[in-house]
Symmetry: C3
Subunit: 313 residues, 3 copies
């Protein structure tokens, strides 16, 4: 594998999950694989789990992580082609990506969408520019439209936690006061589409995700119906895709409660707003998997880095 | 030892000091103890000495330090119980602390007080929330009411520098233009109360520290009297405790001078405002121990990390 | 070598270049030299290449890099002598430099000029204060008037790329909308003065660099004439030195084009504003050396750190 930019880079999710479980059982087994290799972690946006778990994953492989908050630490980066750079950006991505490639053996990038310019966001101009202009592999630490380290993590977590050969998994929208990206939801959908699960999405009308991603996945506007017999309920807010980036609905009836969940396991990528997205009782209860999901971020990242390192060698 | 949150976590300050001296004499002796273990350093506030010395201490034990400026790098953290999180905070401490525990074997936290809400500050809600919700040991890198890494450092420094079996140690308030916390003063008081020293506190009336901390320690409102025959003068500004967080006095007559000090050694945790807290001649003179105190921060932190690591194993 | 603060610290640029080439051929040869030694990287200003390449260089020598953005992470630093510190600065450089020396075996500092106060900038008060008050070696990661890691890099790059024993090297000013420092240009001039090259500087009248630095180096106000038969064209904007810090000229006719360059190699320290300093076609063409220059930053830094480490031992 050269780059890890989307769930589509996973050739066989079942074998990947088995490999991730093996790493989790023995995290330091490949401590020499990344020796004297650096992982550059470039953040255009805030990060807690991704920042820490990806560093931990790199350390488990013997790599040296180097973290940079691009906006605060370096220069404003220009992505336009042919731009006369007499404005606020001081360095072009063509140079930036090629330059960072001189110091880092792998570059991991986080760059959120604008949520105001759909065409720009869907072009994935930041991530794709790194892929295009860097001379080393690129890992997506959440881009405008995908968060494939999270999607892989979630598949691993469901595989570990399920008691059935084909569990029922529901992706549910939940209310939030701010306009949030579609990246986590998209990668979760793509990840579940590769898994042997009974998968359904539920959200209010008008909150359809990109139909090119959801494809044939069942959508049910009735949350209660969708939750029936669910084994896993994965919750996430996203802003409208059609009325791009808009918050059309903040109906608290979509908030997740223990009553709604029944025996289903609760999943969320975090951070999560308590008593807005989900009531306290769920997060504080036994059916919440959110901390184990966070734990699994390390092994998803470690697997991705391992596969890339093996390909470099 | 599970956590190091206050001077009270020191079971025997004399044996700790001896151990710290041994580490200082041979800092790399335990280089394998922390191998493949990570120390997460979480800063809610600025830091120079603590930031660098704690990293150095971790490196001396073979640990991998991971630094995060919480506010700038990640999300606004909610500490309230039962809060409906529809405001500016995006992640609850319950998740944040549990999540960071997935990636770090020890978490060190710096979180200053508000100095406007005494009850909140005295509850130590940030530090105690980490202790409560993290699943790994917590180290206090200065909280609302204590700075026990500094307190341990200062005890070590006095032990190294004293020529008497029972030296006279004075804690003196000094003027400052801003409202400063009580944490350093509190931990120094608690630290000295465990030492075999003749200890007195001097400050203007109205600047009494928390009486639950000072207890039976002598207080003298006359700085000149207090300084008589002093071997060590530890200087620190703090805002009023009774009229909580207020700057009641900026009287330059309380500034420390060589004339006042006589032969006493000068100590301060730094940063220090020259010619406000203390005149240049003191800091530039031979009786200043401030740089050696800074040096000893490494070994105080290293001892604390060592004791925690030994307890994890 | 104790400190590396200017190109003048290079005793023999020819032997340094040979050593740097040897490091580049075998970057990990001295991996034990810096073991258990820390490099503190202190940034008062933004940095991409310097930040990453200097960390990479330290890692190649087995050192532990510790990065700090001084302004954001720590306290405002006072540089004045005898100041009554009742303003915005909370820590004096006398303490800060001595304190950091307790935790770091080498300190690297980046501190840009004000470009408004010529006397202050030329005094190099930040860099020189670190040299004066630190007890460990200091490396200049770009100061008010010099960027000697860049200058050494550029000499190495020209030495690698030249096909002639005495190539013609031109330093050309190019337009920019903002007021930029003289540091890179100064160090490049000093570096070329030590090399066996035919060296000429070209810029509009009024953009003369400090004559104490340019000395006898030829200056030609006619860019076209200066470029004749050039083998290397090194491009950089700087603000006026005489009318200190002012942008007197933004004439786009000084922008670098492929037509102007002919067969000459194009060099720039980066970041570079495309289509302001230089047209896209140059950077995207085969005669651009900018990425190789960035690569060589690692080996210039590694050589400097190696020489300092050898001197510490």
């Amino acid at each position: 594998m050269k780059n890890y930019t989307s769930i589509h880079d996973i050739d066989n999710i079942h074998s990947w999950i088995e490999e991730a479980k093996a790493l989790k059982a023995n995290p330091l087994k490949h401590i020499d694989l990344g020796k004297h290799k650096t992982l550059g972690l470039l953040f255009f946006n805030s990060s807690l789990r991704t920042r820490l778990s990806t560093q931990k994953a790199a350390l488990n492989l013997g790599m040296d992580p180097i973290v940079m908050n691009v906006s605060g630490d370096a220069w404003g980066i220009e992505f336009g082609d042919g731009t006369v750079m007499n404005g606020n950006t001081a360095e072009h991505i063509k140079e930036a990506a090629a330059v960072v490639s001189q110091y880092c053996d792998i570059i991991a990038v986080r760059a959120f969408p604008t949520l105001t310019d759909k065409v720009k966001d869907e072009s994935e101009h930041v991530l794709k520019s790194f892929v295009k202009y860097a001379s080393v592999p690129i890992v997506n630490m959440e881009s405008a439209t995908g968060h494939p380290l999270q999607g892989l993590t979630d598949a691993l977590t469901i595989s570990e936690q399920t008691k059935k050969s084909k569990p029922k998994v529901v992706l549910s929208w939940a209310p939030h006061i701010k306009s949030l990206p579609h990246a986590v939801a998209n990668s979760f959908v793509q990840s579940m589409q590769k898994m042997d699960v009974d998968f359904v999405i539920t959200h209010p009308e008008g909150y359809e995700l990109n139909p090119e991603i959801t494809g044939n996945t069942a959508i049910n506007y009735n949350q209660e119906e969708a939750f029936k017999n669910a084994d896993f309920v994965y919750v996430k807010n996203w802003s409208s895709y059609n009325d791009y980036g808009k918050v059309l609905n903040t109906d608290p009836n979509w908030m997740i409660t223990n009553k709604k969940l029944g025996d289903a396991k609760f999943m969320h990528c975090l951070p999560v707003r308590r008593n807005v997205i989900v009531e306290d009782a769920v997060l504080d209860g036994e059916n919440s998997l959110v901390i184990e999901q966070a734990n699994n971020r390390t092994y998803a990242a470690q697997l991705v880095l391992k596969k890339i390192l093996e390909n470099i060698k």
